[in-house]
Protein backbone atom coordinates (compact mmCIF):
# COMPACT_ATOMS: atom_id res chain seq x y z
CA UNK A 1 0.00 0.00 0.00
CA UNK A 2 2.60 2.54 1.07
CA UNK A 3 5.06 1.14 -1.38
CA UNK A 4 3.01 2.80 -4.09
CA UNK A 5 4.83 6.05 -3.55
CA UNK A 6 7.74 5.85 -5.94
CA UNK A 7 9.25 9.28 -5.44
CA UNK A 8 12.70 8.78 -4.05
CA UNK A 9 12.91 5.14 -5.07
CA UNK A 10 15.51 3.91 -7.44
CA UNK A 11 14.58 1.36 -10.07
CA UNK A 12 17.58 -0.73 -10.88
CA UNK A 13 18.22 -1.59 -14.51
CA UNK A 14 20.72 -0.72 -17.20
CA UNK A 15 19.65 1.96 -19.68
CA UNK A 16 20.97 5.04 -21.44
CA UNK A 17 19.10 7.25 -19.02
CA UNK A 18 20.52 5.40 -16.05
CA UNK A 19 24.05 5.90 -17.37
CA UNK A 20 23.69 9.64 -17.95
CA UNK A 21 25.60 11.99 -15.69
CA UNK A 22 23.33 13.03 -12.81
CA UNK A 23 24.00 16.69 -13.59
CA UNK A 24 22.42 16.20 -17.01
CA UNK A 25 19.39 14.59 -15.46
CA UNK A 26 19.01 17.35 -12.88
CA UNK A 27 19.29 20.11 -15.44
CA UNK A 28 17.13 18.15 -17.87
CA UNK A 29 14.40 17.75 -15.27
CA UNK A 30 14.59 21.44 -14.47
CA UNK A 31 14.31 22.35 -18.15
CA UNK A 32 11.38 19.99 -18.52
CA UNK A 33 9.59 21.61 -15.60
CA UNK A 34 10.27 25.06 -17.04
CA UNK A 35 8.92 23.91 -20.40
CA UNK A 36 5.68 22.83 -18.74
CA UNK A 37 5.08 26.37 -17.55
CA UNK A 38 6.19 27.99 -20.77
CA UNK A 39 3.73 26.24 -23.03
CA UNK A 40 0.06 26.93 -22.76
CA UNK A 41 -1.49 25.19 -25.70
CA UNK A 42 -2.19 21.60 -26.60
CA UNK A 43 0.49 21.33 -29.28
CA UNK A 44 3.09 22.30 -26.71
CA UNK A 45 1.80 19.65 -24.31
CA UNK A 46 1.83 17.09 -27.09
CA UNK A 47 5.53 17.81 -27.59
CA UNK A 48 6.14 17.55 -23.84
CA UNK A 49 4.26 14.26 -23.77
CA UNK A 50 6.28 12.93 -26.69
CA UNK A 51 9.54 13.97 -25.03
CA UNK A 52 8.50 12.37 -21.74
CA UNK A 53 7.38 9.15 -23.41
CA UNK A 54 10.63 8.79 -25.33
CA UNK A 55 12.66 9.31 -22.15
CA UNK A 56 10.53 6.83 -20.21
CA UNK A 57 10.88 4.32 -23.02
CA UNK A 58 14.66 4.79 -23.06
CA UNK A 59 14.88 4.45 -19.29
CA UNK A 60 13.41 0.92 -19.42
CA UNK A 61 11.45 1.62 -16.24
CA UNK A 62 7.99 0.03 -16.55
CA UNK A 63 5.35 2.66 -17.13
CA UNK A 64 3.42 1.28 -14.17
CA UNK A 65 6.02 2.76 -11.84
CA UNK A 66 5.46 6.28 -13.08
CA UNK A 67 1.74 5.92 -12.61
CA UNK A 68 2.16 4.50 -9.13
CA UNK A 69 3.81 7.73 -8.00
CA UNK A 70 0.74 9.50 -9.21
CA UNK A 71 -1.52 7.92 -6.60
CA UNK A 72 0.06 10.13 -3.97
CA UNK A 73 -1.11 13.31 -5.69
CA UNK A 74 -4.55 12.23 -6.84
CA UNK A 75 -6.14 14.24 -4.08
CA UNK A 76 -4.19 17.39 -4.90
CA UNK A 77 -4.99 16.88 -8.54
CA UNK A 78 -8.72 16.62 -7.94
CA UNK A 79 -8.77 19.76 -5.84
CA UNK A 80 -6.77 21.73 -8.40
CA UNK A 81 -9.07 20.59 -11.18
CA UNK A 82 -12.27 21.33 -9.28
CA UNK A 83 -11.19 24.82 -8.24
CA UNK A 84 -10.08 25.74 -11.72
CA UNK A 85 -13.12 24.21 -13.31
CA UNK A 86 -15.75 25.95 -11.22
CA UNK A 87 -14.16 29.20 -10.19
CA UNK A 88 -12.76 30.55 -13.43
CA UNK A 89 -14.85 33.37 -14.82
CA UNK A 90 -15.42 33.59 -18.56
CA UNK A 91 -17.58 32.31 -21.36
CA UNK A 92 -20.19 29.96 -19.86
CA UNK A 93 -20.52 26.62 -21.56
CA UNK A 94 -22.59 24.77 -19.07
CA UNK A 95 -24.47 25.78 -15.95
CA UNK A 96 -26.51 24.05 -13.30
CA UNK A 97 -28.13 26.12 -10.56
CA UNK A 98 -25.33 28.39 -9.31
CA UNK A 99 -22.47 26.34 -10.64
CA UNK A 100 -21.04 27.51 -13.91
CA UNK A 101 -18.47 25.82 -16.06
CA UNK A 102 -16.66 28.15 -18.41
CA UNK A 103 -14.56 27.52 -21.45
CA UNK A 104 -11.60 29.14 -19.71
CA UNK A 105 -12.22 26.96 -16.68
CA UNK A 106 -12.06 23.80 -18.74
CA UNK A 107 -8.81 24.94 -20.33
CA UNK A 108 -7.24 25.95 -17.07
CA UNK A 109 -8.31 22.78 -15.31
CA UNK A 110 -6.99 20.51 -18.00
CA UNK A 111 -3.71 22.43 -18.25
CA UNK A 112 -3.33 22.26 -14.51
CA UNK A 113 -3.95 18.53 -14.49
CA UNK A 114 -1.53 17.92 -17.36
CA UNK A 115 1.13 20.06 -15.74
CA UNK A 116 0.87 18.31 -12.39
CA UNK A 117 0.90 14.86 -13.95
CA UNK A 118 3.87 15.61 -16.17
CA UNK A 119 5.70 17.28 -13.32
CA UNK A 120 5.44 14.22 -11.10
CA UNK A 121 6.27 11.88 -13.96
CA UNK A 122 9.26 13.96 -15.01
CA UNK A 123 10.72 14.05 -11.53
CA UNK A 124 9.91 10.36 -11.04
CA UNK A 125 11.98 9.54 -14.11
CA UNK A 126 14.90 11.31 -12.51
CA UNK A 127 14.62 9.65 -9.11
CA UNK A 128 13.87 6.24 -10.59
CA UNK A 129 16.96 6.27 -12.78
CA UNK A 130 19.43 7.99 -10.45
CA UNK A 131 20.65 6.64 -7.15
CA UNK A 132 20.43 9.09 -4.25
CA UNK A 133 24.22 9.13 -4.11
CA UNK A 134 24.55 10.16 -7.73
CA UNK A 135 21.85 12.73 -7.27
CA UNK A 136 23.67 14.38 -4.41
CA UNK A 137 26.97 14.32 -6.22
CA UNK A 138 25.34 15.98 -9.19
CA UNK A 139 23.61 18.57 -7.09
CA UNK A 140 26.73 19.37 -5.17
CA UNK A 141 28.72 19.86 -8.34
CA UNK A 142 26.02 22.02 -9.91
CA UNK A 143 25.66 24.25 -6.89
CA UNK A 144 29.38 24.49 -6.27
CA UNK A 145 29.67 28.11 -7.55
CA UNK A 146 27.38 29.20 -4.69
CA UNK A 147 30.21 28.46 -2.27
CA UNK A 148 31.55 31.92 -3.03
CA UNK A 149 28.49 33.28 -1.22
CA UNK A 150 29.24 31.02 1.75
CA UNK A 151 26.35 28.69 0.97
CA UNK A 152 27.07 25.33 2.66
CA UNK A 153 26.61 23.40 -0.57
CA UNK A 154 28.10 20.15 0.58
CA UNK A 155 26.05 20.06 3.76
CA UNK A 156 22.84 20.80 1.87
CA UNK A 157 23.60 18.06 -0.62
CA UNK A 158 24.37 15.65 2.21
CA UNK A 159 21.15 16.46 4.00
CA UNK A 160 19.19 15.97 0.82
CA UNK A 161 20.74 12.64 0.04
CA UNK A 162 20.12 11.39 3.55
CA UNK A 163 16.51 12.52 3.38
CA UNK A 164 16.04 10.81 0.03
CA UNK A 165 17.74 7.68 1.23
CA UNK A 166 15.47 7.50 4.24
CA UNK A 167 12.19 7.77 2.39
CA UNK A 168 12.00 4.10 1.37
CA UNK A 169 13.37 2.98 4.74
CA UNK A 170 10.73 4.92 6.62
CA UNK A 171 8.04 3.68 4.27
CA UNK A 172 9.08 0.12 4.93
CA UNK A 173 9.13 0.81 8.63
CA UNK A 174 5.65 2.33 8.45
CA UNK A 175 4.44 -0.76 6.67
CA UNK A 176 5.93 -2.98 9.33
CA UNK A 177 4.56 -1.07 12.30
CA UNK A 178 1.19 -0.81 10.62
CA UNK A 179 1.09 -4.57 10.19
CA UNK A 180 2.18 -5.13 13.78
CA UNK A 181 -0.63 -2.91 15.06
CA UNK A 182 -3.19 -4.46 12.71
CA UNK A 183 -2.16 -7.81 14.17
CA UNK A 184 -3.14 -6.32 17.54
CA UNK A 185 -6.56 -5.44 16.20
CA UNK A 186 -5.88 -1.81 15.22
CA UNK A 187 -8.12 -0.42 12.52
CA UNK A 188 -6.72 2.29 10.29
CA UNK A 189 -9.51 2.43 7.78
CA UNK A 190 -12.96 2.72 9.26
CA UNK A 191 -14.51 5.41 11.44
CA UNK A 192 -14.90 9.16 11.08
CA UNK A 193 -12.09 11.65 10.68
CA UNK A 194 -11.40 12.09 14.40
CA UNK A 195 -11.37 8.37 14.98
CA UNK A 196 -9.07 7.90 12.03
CA UNK A 197 -6.69 10.57 13.29
CA UNK A 198 -6.68 8.94 16.71
CA UNK A 199 -5.95 5.55 15.19
CA UNK A 200 -2.73 6.99 13.77
CA UNK A 201 -1.18 7.43 17.21
CA UNK A 202 -0.10 3.78 17.49
CA UNK A 203 1.56 4.21 14.12
CA UNK A 204 3.16 7.62 14.47
CA UNK A 205 4.69 7.28 17.92
CA UNK A 206 6.78 4.19 17.09
CA UNK A 207 7.61 5.68 13.71
CA UNK A 208 9.00 8.88 15.18
CA UNK A 209 10.92 7.00 17.80
CA UNK A 210 12.46 4.81 15.17
CA UNK A 211 13.27 7.80 12.95
CA UNK A 212 15.08 9.50 15.82
CA UNK A 213 16.89 6.31 16.67
CA UNK A 214 18.02 5.91 13.08
CA UNK A 215 19.11 9.52 12.84
CA UNK A 216 21.10 9.11 16.01
CA UNK A 217 22.73 5.90 14.83
CA UNK A 218 23.62 7.46 11.52
CA UNK A 219 25.18 10.50 13.17
CA UNK A 220 27.25 8.24 15.41
CA UNK A 221 28.34 6.12 12.46
CA UNK A 222 29.37 9.22 10.51
CA UNK A 223 31.31 10.59 13.41
CA UNK A 224 33.01 7.27 14.01
CA UNK A 225 34.30 7.50 10.46
CA UNK A 226 35.61 10.99 11.06
CA UNK A 227 33.15 12.69 8.76
CA UNK A 228 33.72 16.45 8.90
CA UNK A 229 31.92 18.10 6.04
CA UNK A 230 32.89 19.14 2.56
CA UNK A 231 36.29 20.83 2.68
CA UNK A 232 39.19 18.77 1.37
CA UNK A 233 37.00 15.77 0.68
CA UNK A 234 37.78 14.02 -2.56
CA UNK A 235 35.48 11.74 -4.52
CA UNK A 236 36.04 8.11 -5.23
CA UNK A 237 34.14 8.45 -8.49
CA UNK A 238 34.38 12.05 -9.65
CA UNK A 239 31.77 13.12 -12.17
CA UNK A 240 33.14 13.49 -15.68
CA UNK A 241 31.03 14.40 -18.70
CA UNK A 242 30.95 11.83 -21.50
CA UNK A 243 29.98 12.27 -25.11
CA UNK A 244 26.43 11.07 -24.47
CA UNK A 245 26.02 13.66 -21.72
CA UNK A 246 26.86 16.49 -24.10
CA UNK A 247 24.36 15.15 -26.59
CA UNK A 248 21.74 14.87 -23.89
CA UNK A 249 22.27 18.54 -23.04
CA UNK A 250 21.82 19.43 -26.68
CA UNK A 251 18.60 17.44 -26.86
CA UNK A 252 17.21 19.03 -23.69
CA UNK A 253 17.98 22.59 -24.77
CA UNK A 254 16.61 21.87 -28.22
CA UNK A 255 13.42 20.57 -26.64
CA UNK A 256 13.02 23.67 -24.48
CA UNK A 257 13.62 25.99 -27.42
CA UNK A 258 11.05 24.09 -29.42
CA UNK A 259 8.54 24.48 -26.59
CA UNK A 260 9.22 28.20 -26.35
CA UNK A 261 8.88 28.71 -30.07
CA UNK A 262 5.69 26.71 -30.35
CA UNK A 263 4.20 27.90 -27.10
CA UNK A 264 5.04 31.58 -27.25
CA UNK A 265 6.23 32.72 -30.63
CA UNK A 266 4.11 30.88 -33.14
CA UNK A 267 0.78 30.95 -31.35
Amino acid sequence: MLRDITLGQYYQTDSVIHRLDPRVKLVGTLLFIVSLFVVDNFIGYAIAAAFLLVVIKLSKVPFKFMVRGMKAIVFLLIIAVIFNLFLTPGEVVFSVWKIQITKEGIYLASFMAIRLIFLIMGSSVMTLTTTPNQLTDGLEKLLNPLKIFKVPVHEIAMMMSIALRFIPILLEETDKIMKAQIARGADFESGNLIKKAKSLVPLLVPLFISAFRRANDLATAMEARCYRGGDFRTKMKPLIYQKRDRWAYVVCWFYLSLCIIIGRVLL
Binding site: I177, A183, R184, G185, P206
Partner: protein
Protein backbone atom coordinates in the same frame (compact mmCIF):
# COMPACT_ATOMS: atom_id res chain seq x y z
CA UNK B 1 -9.85 -27.30 13.95
CA UNK B 2 -6.63 -26.39 12.26
CA UNK B 3 -4.83 -24.17 9.80
CA UNK B 4 -4.36 -25.57 6.32
CA UNK B 5 -2.22 -24.08 3.57
CA UNK B 6 -2.95 -25.33 0.09
CA UNK B 7 -0.42 -24.60 -2.67
CA UNK B 8 0.35 -21.16 -1.32
CA UNK B 9 2.63 -18.92 -3.40
CA UNK B 10 3.68 -15.40 -2.65
CA UNK B 11 5.59 -13.11 -4.97
CA UNK B 12 6.72 -9.70 -3.75
CA UNK B 13 6.57 -6.82 -6.25
CA UNK B 14 4.87 -9.00 -8.79
CA UNK B 15 5.06 -7.80 -12.41
CA UNK B 16 8.21 -5.76 -11.89
CA UNK B 17 11.88 -6.40 -12.53
CA UNK B 18 12.20 -6.80 -8.75
CA UNK B 19 9.63 -9.63 -8.61
CA UNK B 20 10.74 -12.02 -5.90
CA UNK B 21 9.15 -15.35 -5.05
CA UNK B 22 9.15 -15.45 -1.25
CA UNK B 23 6.90 -18.51 -0.94
CA UNK B 24 6.67 -21.32 -3.47
CA UNK B 25 4.05 -24.03 -3.29
CA UNK B 26 3.64 -24.26 0.46
CA UNK B 27 1.40 -27.07 1.69
CA UNK B 28 0.99 -27.42 5.42
CA UNK B 29 -1.46 -28.59 8.00
CA UNK B 30 -1.20 -27.17 11.46
CA UNK B 31 -3.43 -29.03 13.90
CA UNK B 32 -4.55 -27.59 17.24
CA UNK B 33 -2.19 -27.61 20.16
CA UNK B 34 1.02 -28.39 18.32
CA UNK B 35 4.29 -26.69 19.24
CA UNK B 36 6.02 -25.99 15.94
CA UNK B 37 9.46 -24.63 15.15
CA UNK B 38 9.74 -22.80 11.84
CA UNK B 39 13.36 -22.64 10.86
CA UNK B 40 15.27 -21.27 7.91
CA UNK B 41 18.23 -19.26 6.81
CA UNK B 42 17.79 -15.50 6.63
CA UNK B 43 15.57 -14.54 3.71
CA UNK B 44 14.05 -18.00 3.34
CA UNK B 45 10.51 -16.68 3.71
CA UNK B 46 9.66 -17.42 7.34
CA UNK B 47 8.27 -14.00 8.17
CA UNK B 48 6.39 -13.93 4.91
CA UNK B 49 4.81 -17.27 5.70
CA UNK B 50 3.64 -16.36 9.19
CA UNK B 51 2.11 -13.10 7.96
CA UNK B 52 -0.14 -15.18 5.73
CA UNK B 53 -1.52 -17.10 8.68
CA UNK B 54 -3.38 -14.13 10.12
CA UNK B 55 -4.27 -12.54 6.81
CA UNK B 56 -1.79 -9.67 6.83
CA UNK B 57 -0.47 -10.82 3.48
CA UNK B 58 -2.54 -12.34 0.74
CA UNK B 59 -1.12 -15.25 -1.20
CA UNK B 60 -0.46 -14.56 -4.88
CA UNK B 61 -2.13 -17.91 -5.46
CA UNK B 62 -3.33 -20.75 -3.26
CA UNK B 63 -5.66 -20.87 -0.27
CA UNK B 64 -5.37 -20.72 3.48
CA UNK B 65 -8.07 -22.25 5.66
CA UNK B 66 -8.65 -21.48 9.30
CA UNK B 67 -11.00 -23.97 10.91
CA UNK B 68 -12.30 -24.89 7.49
CA UNK B 69 -12.99 -21.35 6.23
CA UNK B 70 -10.96 -19.73 3.47
CA UNK B 71 -9.53 -16.62 5.15
CA UNK B 72 -9.14 -14.65 1.94
CA UNK B 73 -12.71 -15.18 0.86
CA UNK B 74 -14.95 -12.13 0.60
CA UNK B 75 -16.75 -11.51 3.88
CA UNK B 76 -14.39 -13.48 6.09
CA UNK B 77 -13.95 -11.64 9.38
CA UNK B 78 -10.24 -10.85 9.42
CA UNK B 79 -10.43 -8.88 12.62
CA UNK B 80 -11.69 -11.92 14.45
CA UNK B 81 -9.03 -14.05 12.78
CA UNK B 82 -6.35 -11.71 14.08
CA UNK B 83 -7.60 -12.11 17.62
CA UNK B 84 -7.51 -15.90 17.21
CA UNK B 85 -4.15 -16.05 15.48
CA UNK B 86 -1.85 -13.79 17.48
CA UNK B 87 1.30 -12.73 15.71
CA UNK B 88 4.28 -11.27 17.53
CA UNK B 89 6.54 -9.60 14.98
CA UNK B 90 10.29 -9.64 14.73
CA UNK B 91 11.59 -6.94 17.11
CA UNK B 92 8.12 -6.36 18.56
CA UNK B 93 9.46 -3.74 20.98
CA UNK B 94 9.39 -1.29 18.07
CA UNK B 95 5.62 -1.26 18.12
CA UNK B 96 5.20 0.00 21.69
CA UNK B 97 3.61 3.43 21.84
CA UNK B 98 1.55 4.01 24.98
CA UNK B 99 2.51 6.14 27.96
CA UNK B 100 2.83 3.15 30.24
CA UNK B 101 3.33 -0.58 30.01
CA UNK B 102 -0.12 -1.48 31.22
CA UNK B 103 -2.01 0.69 28.70
CA UNK B 104 0.12 -0.66 25.91
CA UNK B 105 -0.88 -4.22 26.73
CA UNK B 106 -4.52 -3.07 26.93
CA UNK B 107 -4.40 -1.91 23.30
CA UNK B 108 -5.08 -5.36 21.81
CA UNK B 109 -8.02 -6.44 23.97
CA UNK B 110 -9.47 -2.92 23.77
CA UNK B 111 -9.56 -3.23 20.01
CA UNK B 112 -11.60 -6.38 20.42
CA UNK B 113 -14.34 -4.22 21.94
CA UNK B 114 -14.25 -5.86 25.36
CA UNK B 115 -15.40 -4.22 28.56
CA UNK B 116 -12.87 -2.17 30.50
CA UNK B 117 -12.74 -4.64 33.37
CA UNK B 118 -12.14 -7.59 31.11
CA UNK B 119 -9.50 -5.64 29.18
CA UNK B 120 -7.61 -4.83 32.36
CA UNK B 121 -7.91 -8.34 33.70
CA UNK B 122 -6.48 -9.73 30.51
CA UNK B 123 -3.66 -7.21 30.43
CA UNK B 124 -2.80 -8.04 34.02
CA UNK B 125 -2.83 -11.80 33.38
CA UNK B 126 -0.75 -11.44 30.23
CA UNK B 127 1.89 -9.31 31.93
CA UNK B 128 2.10 -11.87 34.73
CA UNK B 129 2.38 -14.69 32.21
CA UNK B 130 5.46 -13.14 30.63
CA UNK B 131 6.97 -12.40 34.02
CA UNK B 132 6.75 -8.62 34.25
CA UNK B 133 6.64 -7.50 37.87
CA UNK B 134 3.98 -5.08 39.16
CA UNK B 135 6.41 -2.25 39.71
CA UNK B 136 6.93 -1.88 35.96
CA UNK B 137 3.24 -1.63 35.08
CA UNK B 138 3.09 2.15 35.20
CA UNK B 139 6.49 2.91 33.78
CA UNK B 140 7.00 4.16 30.27
CA UNK B 141 7.63 1.18 27.99
CA UNK B 142 10.58 3.06 26.53
CA UNK B 143 12.44 3.01 29.84
CA UNK B 144 12.56 -0.78 29.99
CA UNK B 145 15.46 -2.98 28.95
CA UNK B 146 15.39 -4.70 25.57
CA UNK B 147 14.32 -8.03 27.02
CA UNK B 148 11.59 -6.46 29.12
CA UNK B 149 10.25 -4.53 26.16
CA UNK B 150 10.12 -7.76 24.22
CA UNK B 151 8.06 -9.38 26.98
CA UNK B 152 5.67 -6.46 27.15
CA UNK B 153 5.17 -6.70 23.40
CA UNK B 154 4.49 -10.42 23.67
CA UNK B 155 2.03 -9.73 26.49
CA UNK B 156 0.31 -7.27 24.17
CA UNK B 157 -0.56 -10.14 21.87
CA UNK B 158 -1.24 -12.68 24.64
CA UNK B 159 -3.82 -10.33 26.13
CA UNK B 160 -5.98 -10.96 23.08
CA UNK B 161 -6.15 -14.62 24.16
CA UNK B 162 -5.23 -16.12 20.81
CA UNK B 163 -5.78 -19.79 20.01
CA UNK B 164 -2.64 -19.80 17.91
CA UNK B 165 0.41 -17.85 19.01
CA UNK B 166 3.06 -17.10 16.41
CA UNK B 167 6.36 -15.64 17.54
CA UNK B 168 8.72 -14.34 14.87
CA UNK B 169 12.23 -14.72 16.28
CA UNK B 170 11.27 -13.82 19.84
CA UNK B 171 14.85 -14.27 20.99
CA UNK B 172 16.69 -12.25 18.35
CA UNK B 173 19.27 -10.02 19.98
CA UNK B 174 18.81 -11.35 23.52
CA UNK B 175 21.54 -12.78 25.70
CA UNK B 176 21.47 -16.56 26.41
CA UNK B 177 19.78 -16.08 29.76
CA UNK B 178 17.10 -13.78 28.40
CA UNK B 179 16.58 -16.19 25.55
CA UNK B 180 16.10 -19.22 27.78
CA UNK B 181 13.78 -17.31 30.08
CA UNK B 182 11.50 -16.23 27.28
CA UNK B 183 11.45 -19.66 25.65
CA UNK B 184 10.78 -21.37 28.99
CA UNK B 185 7.92 -19.01 29.65
CA UNK B 186 6.42 -19.69 26.25
CA UNK B 187 6.70 -23.44 26.78
CA UNK B 188 5.05 -23.13 30.19
CA UNK B 189 2.32 -20.94 28.79
CA UNK B 190 1.57 -23.48 26.13
CA UNK B 191 1.33 -26.26 28.67
CA UNK B 192 -1.14 -24.23 30.72
CA UNK B 193 -3.36 -23.02 27.91
CA UNK B 194 -2.92 -25.75 25.30
CA UNK B 195 -2.68 -23.21 22.50
CA UNK B 196 -0.89 -23.84 19.26
CA UNK B 197 2.52 -22.19 19.20
CA UNK B 198 4.62 -21.49 16.13
CA UNK B 199 8.13 -20.41 16.96
CA UNK B 200 10.17 -18.86 14.16
CA UNK B 201 13.90 -19.11 14.63
CA UNK B 202 17.31 -19.31 13.04
CA UNK B 203 18.62 -21.66 15.60
CA UNK B 204 17.93 -25.37 15.91
CA UNK B 205 19.42 -25.29 19.37
CA UNK B 206 16.68 -22.93 20.49
CA UNK B 207 13.78 -24.96 19.30
CA UNK B 208 15.04 -28.55 19.63
CA UNK B 209 14.31 -28.57 23.32
CA UNK B 210 10.72 -27.43 23.06
CA UNK B 211 8.92 -28.27 19.86
CA UNK B 212 7.02 -31.36 18.62
CA UNK B 213 7.58 -30.58 14.98
CA UNK B 214 10.09 -28.68 12.88
CA UNK B 215 9.40 -27.07 9.53
CA UNK B 216 12.58 -26.16 7.69
CA UNK B 217 12.33 -23.51 4.99
CA UNK B 218 14.88 -22.97 2.29
CA UNK B 219 14.68 -20.49 -0.57
CA UNK B 220 10.91 -20.00 -0.33
CA UNK B 221 10.13 -23.72 -0.09
CA UNK B 222 9.51 -26.20 2.70
CA UNK B 223 12.56 -28.45 2.81
CA UNK B 224 11.71 -30.70 5.76
CA UNK B 225 8.62 -31.03 7.87
CA UNK B 226 8.87 -33.64 10.57
CA UNK B 227 9.55 -34.39 14.23
CA UNK B 228 12.91 -32.97 15.41
CA UNK B 229 14.68 -36.36 15.47
CA UNK B 230 13.89 -37.01 11.83
CA UNK B 231 14.84 -33.52 10.73
CA UNK B 232 18.19 -33.68 12.50
CA UNK B 233 19.03 -36.93 10.74
CA UNK B 234 19.46 -34.76 7.67
CA UNK B 235 22.13 -32.71 9.39
CA UNK B 236 24.35 -32.79 6.32
CA UNK B 237 21.62 -31.31 4.12
CA UNK B 238 20.83 -28.76 6.81
CA UNK B 239 24.40 -27.55 6.70
CA UNK B 240 24.15 -27.07 2.97
CA UNK B 241 21.30 -24.60 3.43
CA UNK B 242 23.13 -22.60 6.07
CA UNK B 243 21.61 -24.27 9.12
CA UNK B 244 22.96 -26.76 11.59
CA UNK B 245 21.60 -29.50 13.80
CA UNK B 246 22.09 -28.97 17.54
CA UNK B 247 25.69 -29.49 18.61
CA UNK B 248 24.70 -32.53 20.58
CA UNK B 249 23.72 -34.29 17.37
CA UNK B 250 27.24 -33.84 16.08
CA UNK B 251 28.76 -35.15 19.28
CA UNK B 252 26.60 -38.24 19.16
CA UNK B 253 27.46 -38.84 15.52
CA UNK B 254 31.18 -38.53 16.31
CA UNK B 255 30.89 -40.90 19.26
CA UNK B 256 29.11 -43.42 17.12
CA UNK B 257 31.79 -43.09 14.45
CA UNK B 258 34.43 -43.70 17.12
CA UNK B 259 32.67 -46.95 17.99
CA UNK B 260 30.59 -46.02 21.04
CA UNK B 261 27.16 -47.56 20.64
CA UNK B 262 24.88 -44.57 21.25
CA UNK B 263 21.56 -43.43 19.85
CA UNK B 264 22.30 -40.69 17.31
CA UNK B 265 18.74 -39.37 17.26
CA UNK B 266 19.24 -37.54 20.49
CA UNK B 267 18.45 -33.82 20.49
CA UNK B 268 18.91 -32.53 24.01
CA UNK B 269 21.73 -32.45 26.51
CA UNK B 270 19.86 -34.44 29.16
CA UNK B 271 19.03 -37.29 26.80
CA UNK B 272 22.62 -37.34 25.61
CA UNK B 273 23.95 -37.66 29.12
CA UNK B 274 21.76 -40.66 29.82
CA UNK B 275 22.56 -42.31 26.52
CA UNK B 276 26.31 -41.95 26.98
CA UNK B 277 26.17 -43.26 30.52
CA UNK B 278 24.11 -46.19 29.35
CA UNK B 279 26.50 -46.97 26.52
CA UNK B 280 29.51 -46.74 28.83
CA UNK B 281 27.85 -48.83 31.51
CA UNK B 282 27.14 -51.63 29.09
CA UNK B 283 30.70 -51.80 27.86
Amino acid sequence: MSIILNHVNHIYEEDTAMAFPALTDINLEIPDGQFIGLIGHTGSGKSTLVQHLNGLLKPTSGEIYYNGADINEEGFNKKELRSKVGLVFQYPEHQLFEIDVFSDVCFGPKNLGLEKKEVELRAYTALKQVGIADEYFYQSPFDLSGGQKRRVAIAGVLAMKPEVLILDEPTAGLDPKGRDEILDQIAKLREETGMTVILVSHSMEDVAKYVDRIIVMNKSRVLFDDVPKEVFRHYKELEKVGLAAPQITYIMQELKAKGLNVDTDITTLEEAKEAILKALGKK
